[in-house]
């Protein structure tokens, strides 16, 4: 029988301490990234392009080289890194505002060009670091500091379904949406991250995972309630699943 060892992944820095709010899913997501990096043995060959927002702090925790991109430009910076050094493993770790609002052009064009990059996007339906404003993924009816009576179509339009848009790009090799609300879903999330990394390593194109995440502080909820919100309010609109996988026949 296989022995399972519970330990801090080697891809973490020694003695790191998370600075995220209690109940925030960034911690789980970054741990999954670290576990996958360990399993694929890529830490020493990795360069990350980080973005602006809570996600930027990933370079405080992982033991990897990183370049901090301006807001929204992570995938343009990552494109530059990868084109300059095609033998490196290059990934971005971004928030939804970064990836799908200010950086939508850079994000989708990286996918359209089929850049051999991997990208993780944390969707928590708000701008977390700046205090909970309306973002591109804010749900209809959701109250934020800039939608005080809830998101209405008249003033704000509709939220974007990121994984589906990325899947529509011909250069995308893998696009999935996952959640971290249950142990089973966390396992699925890890498999999706691994797949998004592997398509790059195999030179197949753009690998993408949208992770539905909590923001208990700005949602003004307990961690438990926040995960219930992910399940009951986000998942019916942002439906988890694999939206594109060119390595799996009949799965698209």
């Amino acid at each position: 029988m296989e022995t399972q060892v519970f330990k801090v992944p080697d891809s973490f820095k020694k003695d790191f301490k998370y600075t995220f709010c209690p109940g925030c899913d960034h911690g789980v997501a970054i741990r999954l990234v670290a576990e996958v990096m360990d399993e694929l043995g890529i830490r020493e060959n990795t360069i990350a392009a980080t973005s602006i927002g809570c996600s930027v702090t990933i370079y405080d925790f992982l033991n990897i080289d990183a370049i901090e991109a301006p807001h929204g430009r992570a995938l343009a910076v990552a494109t530059g890194v990868k084109r300059a050094t095609p033998d490196k493993f290059v990934f971005t770790y971004q928030g939804d505002g970064d990836f799908a609002s200010i950086g939508l052009a850079e994000s989708l064009h990286s996918a359209l060009r089929g850049e051999c990059l991997s990208s993780i996007c944390i969707n928590n339906t708000t701008y977390g670091m700046t205090g909970g404003q309306l973002g591109p993924t804010t749900l209809l009816g959701q109250v934020t500091t800039t939608s005080p009576t809830g998101r209405n179509v008249e003033y704000y339009g509709y939220p974007i379904k990121i994984a589906e848009h990325v899947a529509l790009c011909d250069g995308t090799a893998f696009s999935a949406r996952v959640s971290l609300d249950t142990i089973a879903n966390i396992r699925k999330a890890k498999q999706a991250i691994k797949k998004a990394f592997e398509v790059q390593l195999n030179g197949l194109g753009f690998g993408f995972v949208e992770i539905l995440s909590t923001c208990p502080t700005n949602w003004r909820m307990s961690p438990e309630k926040a995960h219930e919100r992910v399940r009951n309010e986000m998942m019916p609109i942002f439906v988890p699943g694999i939206y594109k996988d060119i390595t799996s026949k009949g799965n698209n």
């Binding site: 370049i67 910076v77 530059g80 890194v81």
Partner: protein, 355 residues
Amino acid sequence: MVECLTGKKVLMKGNYAIANAAVIAGCDCYFGYPITPQSEIGEFMSGKMQELGRAYVSAESELAAINMCIGACSTGKKAMTSSSSCAISLMQEGLSYATSDELPIVLISVMRGGPGLGNIFPSQGDYNQATIGGGDGDYKLIVLSPSNVQEAIDLTYKTFYLAHKYRNPAMLLADGLLGQMMEPVEFGKYPYAEIDNSSWALSGAKGRNPRIIRSYSPTEGPQCEHIRHLFDKYKQLEENEVMYEELYTDDADLLVLSFGSLSRNVKAAIKQLRDQGMKIGFFRPITLFPFPNKRLNELSRKVKKFLTIEVNMGQMVRDVRLAVNGNVPVEFYGKPVGSWPSVEDLQTAIERAMI
């Protein structure tokens, strides 16, 4: 094409010459978006870089292009982009970041008319954009200004060298006239030493601590220290890298200043006026940053008056006034945009300043 052009005299358009010089300088990566009057640079690079197996991306925007340069430069590779006026505006955020990140981006700016979309006529309206910039915070770009196509080649080499030597974005500030005109040129070899960047470039944290290139500093102390470090470099640039062209300053009563390709008309006008016995000197800053403050201050103690001529409403003239610090009056002659003033027009303007 690179090989066959080296060491031969060829007739070539400014934009192609700059692009070819960048290839000879060892540019590993080109990222760009089209805009008149510099589109030939991207067109040339699209073919040449693929032919040589180097990196080329038709970026989705100038924003993306400058950020691709940030990524490529972070690995220690030589990366450049090229653009013009209103599109250089879109790159200001990236330039501010790259300066703080200490990344040696090479940027070719071929000025057209502004503000806004303006037009595609030549202009010198982006002196301020180049030397002051529109990004946030305290920073400077290295800015070199060629006056002919041969010098555009030589200064392209130098732009790459200075960017890497000082780990700071550097700009070649050309104009639409220079970009579109053909002149006989020679390329030669890249004349500068390669700079070792192994101490800072990102390559994966193998057998060493991770490296993070970032402009973000959450506390006051390190940020102050970092900005002082940047300004130490700017001081070194001012001490070691200033370039200018100077003529007839020994006996001059009036010193006429101009930069870029316009200076050729100015020089021609001065030569003719000197033939008539008028004591006029000529001065052309080649590095717009670092600006030749020291030399201009020296000259301001010898001559009676300065006249700065530009195709804009008076941009470099402010730097000239700062340099002379009130020692002499500094007058301005210019026009906003379009064809360069003729030698005759310039003679008239200079004669008027002599009075």
